[in-house]
Amino acid sequence: MAGRLYTKSHEWLVVDGKTVTVGITDFAQSQLGDVVFLELPNAGRKLDAGESFGVVESVKAASDLYSPATGRVTAVNDKLAGKPELINSDPYGDGWILRLEMAGELPNDLMDESAYKKLTETGA
């Protein structure tokens, strides 16, 4: 399994073969503040890389979620419906959002941890 990758829109992804697990980053959850609700797609939906697939509502604002890869949704974390705060408490673990079966290749603008860290530190 490869290391965690990141998007400019603050999603993370872990790729295991054709399976891509997606969530939002610790930086994103800290900026959003307490998450109170997620609007998520159903399993089976096809997503293009960069396509908005849902919304995360925090106390502060509603923010769109963007798919980091092209593929079909195979699983959605149903724990989030009852415990949206998992996004805050464990963004890289129990706060995962969905899994995709990837079609084709990963986009070439994904970042590794050090590049993403640089992005968040420069406030881009």
């Binding site: 503040g33 307490d34 109170v36 609700f37 997620l38 609007e39 919304v55 509502e57 106390v59 502060k60 604002a61 509603a62 705060e85 805050n88």
Partner: protein, 351 residues
């Protein structure tokens, strides 16, 4: 950290949810030093404020504070503020975002002999709010302090002016202390109260608690284009006290009746109606959401909306724009939540 009227303030120290619950169940400590603090000097201060503010200061006296509005000639709200009648003059606490404009307005209206001094930067202001605030504040000299009363006291050994006021719907205190001592006072209050569940609380908890208590936020729920009757603050307008800025315009609004009014809306989990969202009834647009958030304490989203008068009665259903679709909203009684402030209200805030 977020920018709030030019001040850098924390949205949360730990979690908005935890801080919100602390304020409702124990106590929360807010740094509200961003709020503008003016000291008035001169024998004409009382008459000056009576001619500038909507409420009637002759209904209070030394040692008491009063919620007030400052309006323009057209009756539009320039700011909401609290005026404190001190032994050595009046103190006025205004919104951070309006501080400079208020100062200019007040100085522009002040007669010779009345001076408005901006003390915002020498003095800090803390708010310790919650049902346990009285039992947890490490202070002396506060026994028997009535709601909306204030007096000099000692907080954590430091001289302070302490007022029994707040912006959360809970009982509690606002503490004026010199800026060079505020960190010690802050730390001492938390050290004393943390074991009983008190927490430092940020803007997120402040906004959620004030909204549950239906306390209006300037810039969201009202501005210069809104008059006090529309904002549901007609009780602060004393047309019979004599002349004041905006009186004639407000007298006409009162006699004709306001065209719009603020109502409370409740929506289903996840349907947070945000500031600016359209409100509909029977497919027709009737107004706009002015404030909305998720209430962790009540377990559902709440919102204030400015709508056409009589378009929504308590219990009636409206539709509100949430992320581009229309979500059902129930009209509910304001405030959404009554905290401990009313039990501390020896003198009702709405006097």
């Amino acid at each position: 950290m977020v920018d709030f009227g030019g001040w850098e303030l924390p949205q949360q120290y730990t979690s908005i949810r935890d801080e919100h619950f602390a304020v409702r169940r124990s106590a929360g400590l807010f740094d509200i030093s961003h709020m503008g603090r003016f000291k008035l000097h001169g024998d004409g201060s009382f008459d000056f404020l009576q001619g500038l503010l909507t409420n009637d200061l002759s209904r209070i006296g030394p040692g008491r504070a009063q919620y007030n509005l400052m309006c323009n000639e057209r009756g539009g709200i320039l700011d909401d503020l609290v005026a404190y009648w001190g032994d050595d003059g009046f103190i006025v606490v205004v919104n951070a975002s309006n501080r400079e404009r208020d100062l200019e307005w007040m100085r522009g209206h002040a007669p010779a002999g009345v001076d408005v001094e901006d003390r915002t930067f020498e003095q800090s202001l803390l708010a310790f709010q919650g049902p346990e605030a009285e039992s947890l504040i490490p202070a002396t000299g506060l026994k028997g302090l009535p709601y909306f009363g204030f007096r000099p006291g000692k907080v954590a050994g430091t001289s302070a002016l302490v007022s029994r006021t707040g912006y959360t719907g809970e009982d509690g205190f606002e503490i004026f202390v010199t800026a060079d001592r505020v960190v010690q006072v802050w730390d001492a209050i938390l050290a004393h109260a943390a074991k009983q569940g008190a927490l430092p609380a940020g803007l997120g908890a402040r906004d959620a608690t004030r909204l549950e208590a239906a306390l209006r936020l300037y810039g969201n729920d009202m501005d210069e284009g809104v008059n006090p009757y529309e904002a549901g603050l007609g009780w602060t307008v004393r047309l019979d006290k004599g002349n004041f800025v905006g009186r004639d315009a407000l007298a006409s609004v009162k006699s004709e009746g306001p065209k719009r009014t603020l109502v409370g809306l409740k929506t289903a989990a996840g349907d947070i109606a945000r500031h600016g969202a359209a409100v509909f009834k029977g497919g027709r647009r009737i107004g706009t959401v002015t404030s909305g958030t998720h209430s962790f304490f009540l377990g559902h989203p709440i919102a204030l909306a400015m709508v056409e008068v009589a378009s929504l009665r308590v219990g009636e259903t409206a539709a509100v724009d949430v992320r581009g679709r229309q979500a059902a909203a129930e009209t509910v009684q304001l405030p959404f939540y009554r905290g401990s402030a009313r039990s501390a209200a020896a003198t009702p805030a709405k006097s």
